[in-house]
């Protein structure tokens, strides 16, 4: 069921009618209003400021650098009859107002003027190859261009080479094909629109590769109103598409060029099968099979394609030698595979080859260290030797832009004057003084409010002597007239729903997304929406999501992300969410949020089941979410559904809850598994199998985002090194960044953790969520400077907690550890239990331990100190400072709050903090330690202190 080319041209006619046929239903706008906005009428017919927002048209293209983009000859032709060259453009024929005999001169002058803007039009040929055209052809038909533009080819033809497809079409003329009405399709979902099918102009006489690629990369620079969106292309992708669109500029028969076409790519390809799927990359030509100029680099891939000329038929042995991996294909068949990370190794294979050219492909990747790539052959009459450059060739040719000459300066001046006289500046900016002139000129008409009933006289009259020619048909004329007749009673303000409906129609959103029973991909276009290979997600993996209730589904920032920051969470879709620009669609996020209600969350009291939530995500006694969902960039075990680490930041909790309770209820088409069939969980042994408790636990885990511990069962290069304090405390000695090379990290099953600087006897860091991955300390020579992978990481302020001060308000020593007079005594540590750190200063011994606490849904650590002094003198003037250098504010009796590293840390003081604190000069709070004689030994003195840190 492919889209038929000829149908396109028929549907193209339907599209013009589409304005009248379809625009009314969604937003309640009269079709005439749509047409008036589309035609930018208010640029020449003044309206009240109040109505401007409602009737604001798309901004006309900025012509400031048009001379570098468009060929002068094309511009002349275009001015002659804009609708002929660009049927979907909104440009009227401005020359109609001139006497016929003057028009030809006017075109020349205007084109000369426009050519001077940013010109000259470049004349260099662009060297390219069939591979590039093919890449552009596939990109054009897969990234989403065809959602708005008429596809050039049937989807099924894309499997053939361009040449073969064209030959097949020539043999099967379009006339023979049946023409159908896209809206009369049997079973069409109500509200589906006909394919948009905006016809593209013929580009070959119009522009050249570089400016067209520039335009594709940043269309808003020329067309700020965003009607042509940014498709998030790389420069290489944009060039490929431009070359495809401009292939008519092929200035000679394809030539066989020496060497092989080369595409190089950055990245790690150790785990890929080959490089076939990679698009773009850096293109070049390699004289033979070699690493060439990439020698010395790391982490790259190289794909060489072309032909190898076999001098004599017979059995040939090919030796492929590489460091690291490589593979060889001859005539599309894999002959040698030497993929993997290794030193220079050779592999060989023998095969029968006929005399003449055979297609050859060599894929190669390098991870690190040395690299080499070499292909040798031996066969009839040829002893083993490297295949010489003379054996290789590839298809290459040039694209020649349309010829242009520098404009005559006198014509430029006259063109500028004419541009002003005609009123072109009412719509177009030029980057010249013309931009500052008020709308005026021959094209500029009376105020809009005066146009009611005046059709016979103006633009709608078809009287070219006085007005720009719009080529409206009779229906359109009537529609406009109807709208103008009721203009006086037009309401100025649009509500959010109306604005959304209008913009979604105008920008084409409805050709991909369905909302309020309107829109969605038309069946004729569906084939062009493909999932990447292996993404077995059905339609959900290839079609853009429906948008009903999206404001209640996505968090506001996530809506902004997808609308204006190009954030993509569906890597399995080949189609990309187009970017229309913050100024054009940024407001939509708030509009969706305002229109769509949040789904309710269950109101039960908070219970902390973060660790169980992580377990539920995994495959060991869990719900197995990682079977289908990626996790923090690690591929899922099966199909590649949305990354779990992104969900907590994207979804609203109510929607998530509804999705898990009954996936079909919130999204009819999802392939999301039903996890709780008849109220029974797939993980019956966690939280008693209670669905709601499990959903809340999973949400708690997902809320950690990238700080989530990897769920059990997930396989990553790191997973063998993941430390999981599941049922006991886990410790590990590490080098800790910005802290100490003698750091003990301690992880609790309660998902709150700390790092203790054992060299200086001080708590250095605290965090929550994921505990620690020891790969950097345990793999190979290791020695990495570690950082906690969790969330809410807080660096404790520098300095010791304890000091001996003459007066408790004195300046606190900045030194730590031995330099501050402390010595390390060691630690008590029973495997699986909380360590007790022992350290001392003169005459004093301290034991410090930390244990986890949970307080009203927040996590924290309880710190506990036992201080013993050998005698009365050593017991004097000991002061404890819980948080150095920070201002604490009192929340309640014994409860203080401090902000550290952007996190609110609440301190709740227990034993030993009974007396009021002393404030230092800088405002720090300190507690003099009250030392009492020990009952068992009155010569010695002691104190115990404890406080809680909750964050």
């Amino acid at each position: 069921m492919g889209w038929k080319i000829l149908k396109g041209s028929v549907a193209c006619g339907l599209m013009l009618a589409g304005v009248t046929a379809q625009a009314q239903s969604p937003s309640g706008f009269l079709p005439g209003e749509e047409l008036l906005v589309q035609s930018a009428c208010i640029s020449c017919h003044e309206v009240s400021p109040a109505l401007q927002q409602r009737l604001q048209p798309a901004t006309a293209p900025d012509l400031a650098k048009v001379g570098a983009r468009l060929s002068p000859s094309w511009m002349e032709k275009f001015l002659d009859d804009p609708r002929r060259l660009r049927p979907h453009g909104n440009m009227p024929n401005m020359l109609e107002v001139l006497p016929p005999e003057e028009r030809s001169q006017a075109r020349l002058e205007l084109a000369s003027f426009l050519s001077s803007l940013g010109g000259p039009f470049p004349q260099e040929s662009h060297g390219t190859s069939f591979g590039v055209i093919e890449s552009g052809r596939q990109l054009f038909h897969s990234v989403g261009c065809v959602a708005c533009h008429r596809p050039f080819e049937d989807f099924s033809d894309l499997e053939l080479s361009l040449e073969d497809a064209e030959a097949a079409r020539a043999a099967d003329p379009e006339e023979n094909r049946e023409v159908e009405d896209p809206l009369a399709l049997a079973g069409l979902l109500a509200g589906t629109l006909a394919p948009r099918n905006l016809a593209l102009p013929e580009f070959a006489p119009m522009t050249s590769v570089a400016p067209l690629a520039d335009f594709l990369l940043d269309p808003h620079a020329v067309r700020p109103s965003g009607l042509m969106p940014n498709m998030g292309l790389s420069r290489s992708d944009a060039e490929d598409i431009a070359v495809y669109l401009l292939r008519g500029q092929l200035d000679q028969a394809p030539v066989s060029a020496p060497g092989l076409a080369s595409h190089s790519f950055k990245g790690s390809f150790m785990n890929t099968q080959d490089l076939s799927e990679l698009r773009g990359g850096t293109k070049g030509v390699a004289s033979h099979v070699t690493v060439g100029e990439l020698t010395g680099g790391d982490n790259f891939g190289l794909r060489l394609t072309g032909s190898i000329a076999i001098p004599t038929a017979g059995e040939w042995t090919l030796h492929l030698r590489s460091d690291d991996g490589s593979l060889l294909r001859i005539d599309g068949r894999e002959v040698i595979r030497s993929w993997g990370v290794h030193g220079p190794i050779s592999k060989k294979e023998s095969l029968e080859l006929s005399q003449g050219k055979h297609l050859i492909e060599v894929h190669f990747f390098e991870m690190s260290g040395g690299e080499m790539l070499k292909l040798e052959w031996e066969g009839p009459g040829v002893s083993r030797a490297e295949v010489p450059p003379s054996a290789f060739s590839h298809q290459g040719f040039g694209l020649r832009p349309p010829t242009a000459q520098a404009p005559d300066p006198e014509l430029v001046v006259r063109g500028s004057e004419r541009f002003a006289r005609l009123g072109c500046a009412a719509c177009h900016t030029t980057g010249t003084v013309l931009d500052e002139m008020p709308p005026s000129g021959q094209g500029v008409g009376p105020p809009m409010a005066n146009l009611a009933g005046s059709a016979v006289a103006g633009c709608l009259s078809g009287d070219g002597e006085r007005n720009p020619r719009w080529s409206f048909d009779a229906d359109q004329n009537d529609a406009l007239q109807e709208f103008l007749d009721g203009f006086g009673s037009l309401q100025a303000e649009l509500d959010s729903a109306q604005r959304l409906a209008r913009s979604m129609t105008r920008l084409g959103c409805v050709h991909c997304h369905r909302r309020s029973e309107r829109g969605g991909v038309h069946p004729w276009d569906r084939d062009y929406f493909q999932a990447r290979e292996g993404a077995d997600l059905g339609d959900e993996g290839r079609l853009p999501p429906q948008l009903d209730g999206v404001g209640g589904k996505l968090q506001l920032d996530a809506l902004h992300g997808v609308l204006t920051r190009g954030e993509r969470v569906r890597p399995y879709m080949t189609t990309r969410m187009p970017q229309y620009g913050e100024q054009n669609v940024g407001w939509m996020a708030e509009a969706f949020a305002a229109l769509d209600p949040d789904l309710p969350t269950s109101q039960e009291s908070f219970e902390d089941h973060l660790a169980l939530g992580v377990q539920l995500l995994g495959t060991e006694e869990g719900l197995g979410c990682i079977q289908c969902h990626d996790f923090g960039g690690t591929p899922s075990l099966g199909i590649r559904a949305v990354d779990l680490a992104t969900i907590g930041d994207r979804l609203k909790p109510g929607w998530f809850e509804a999705l898990l309770r009954d996936p079909g209820q919130v999204n009819m088409n999802t392939r999301m598994a039903e996890l709780f069939v008849d109220g029974k969980s797939l993980a019956p042994n966690v939280l008693g199998g209670d669905p709601m408790a499990q959903i809340r636990a999973v949400w708690q885990a997902l809320s950690l985002g990238n700080a989530m511990p990897p769920p059990p069962g997930l396989i990553t290069p790191d997973s063998a090194f993941e430390l999981r304090p599941l049922d006991r405390i886990v410790t590990c000695g590490v080098f800790m960044r910005d802290m100490s090379p003698r750091t003990l990290v301690v992880g609790f099953p309660e998902m709150v953790h700390y790092a203790f600087d054992m060299q200086n006897s001080r708590l250095g860091r605290i965090w929550q969520g994921r505990f620690f991955n020891a790969r950097g300390t345990w793999e190979g020579r290791a020695g990495s400077l570690e950082m906690p992978p969790g969330s809410r990481v807080i660096d404790m302020p520098p300095g010791m907690v304890l000091a001996r001060l003459d007066s408790p308000g004195d300046s606190w020593p900045t030194a730590v550890g031995a330099e501050a007079g402390f010595h390390v005594l060691g630690r008590q540590q029973v495997l699986g239990e909380a360590p007790v750190f022992r350290y001392g200063m003169e005459g004093v011994t301290v034991e410090e331990t930390l244990t986890p606490v949970l307080r009203k849904g927040r996590r924290g650590l309880s710190r506990h100190w036992t201080v013993v002094a050998e005698n009365a003198a050593a017991a004097k003037n000991l002061v404890l400072r819980p948080i150095g250098g920070a201002q604490m504010s009192a929340l309640a009796q014994g409860l203080w709050r401090v902000t550290l590293g952007g996190h609110e840390l609440d301190l709740s003081f227990g034993e030993g903090f009974g007396r009021p604190p002393v404030s230092s000069v800088s405002g720090e709070l300190r507690w003099p330690i009250v030392m009492r004689p020990l009952p068992e030994d009155p010569e010695r003195f002691g104190a115990t202190l404890s406080l809680e840190l909750v964050w």
Partner: protein
Amino acid sequence: MICFLAAMAFVGDLAVVPAVIPKVQEPWLLETLPMPEGEVLEISALEIWHGDRVLVATRRGEVWVVEGVFDGDPLNCSWRKVMEGLQEPLGFLVQEDDSVLVIQRGELSRLVDQDQDGAFDSVETVCDEWRVGGNYHEYNFGPVRDKAGDLWLTTNRAFGGQPFGAPKWRGFALRIDGNGKMHPECSGLRSPAGVGAAPWGDLFYTDNQGEWVGASKLSQLIPGAFYGHPFGVASCEDPLWPYPHPGETPNRVLMPEAAKLLPHFQMPAVWFPYDEMGRSPAGFVFDGTGGRFGPYEGQMFVVDQFSAEVMRVSLEQVGGHWQGACYPFRKGLSCGAIRVCWGPDGSMLIGETDRGWASRGSERFGLERLSWTGAVPFEMHTVSARPNGFHVRFTQALDPKTAADPKLWSVASYTYMLHSDYGSSEVDQAKCEVLAVTIDPDNMGIQLEIKGLRSGYVHELRPKGLRSQVGEALVDPRAYYTLIQIPVQPQVR
């Protein structure tokens, strides 16, 4: 020559060697001990605890106890984790009170099992007076106790970034006194992966070939001595260094020249020729098994991290300098070995890991045991220096007809460069002429009279075609004697 006589005492136990056993029996049986599934036990320290428990530390900072290794079938041994969170625990020393000293990156610690439940419950800091720069290669080895009861460590030089600064005392031997005070004693070490005490009390260490270490070596640790690597020498300006500064290290000189140029330069006891005798010598033990491990009582066994083998060393003191020969012993361990200790039954336990430095062998880590079966292979037992040659004792009686021919003996000598390059080739090579061969009266040894002995040179002895009385060939006809001192008087046996 009292010392020499003492050394001879180790050779003298040949009488206990059983009669020749049919050759079919392997002299030493290698057993690979099972490990708990899923655990990564890269063994970095190994000792016997409470008489028959094997105490193991791993590079991941864990301590395990293995029970049941010596009672019956070691395949039934059981593992129990008893501590974690240590940083690179690379050596144990079990104390009389069953507490265990363990060296970490940043401290020498004492593991204590206060409640006697068989697992440790505290880590007491014995000494942490050195600092760590945060470089992976800042390993420490030891501890080992000297005659006075003090503890010695060796510290590895750093390689590359030290994000916490470049601390002093890298590439040193450090002595920790009874009060936990640190005293630097030797400088110029590189990768001193093994350190141990001889039965007679002297301390030795092994060092790995690399820059400033032309060939891997075994050296005696002598207070104030310099071992050739200038990396840490700047620390010798610290007042804590009580000895004369070792001076500026000369680059590109022959080792014997270096010994003349540098008054404190310590020549090795044994050089291990690269690839011939491993690449990365690590832990070692002296055979005090009373013959239960075979005929080499009193000799030393050194494990090699790269070549997954055990090498053998005999030592003698000549002119006040301990020196001797190294011999191949047993190749084919499952993985590179860095630790070795004796079991209570006289079997040898070997702790293995290839982590960070790829090794021979099929495994990434392991614990293996070598036990003597009672068979005696035909091998060179001991090579000793003589003023005019060498005396070679064998494990079995010789075939006097073949043994007496001087042409059977190929003796070459060479030395190494002291230089900043990575390793040294064997330089200044020369062939030695064997002038005469005299067979010992008991047929178990020969005197080689050699022309051209050179002090400061390895002398490589390769008898070809030599047969035992029963017609066996040598298992491996190689011995490498590091001749630093040439005896000045004829020795009377």
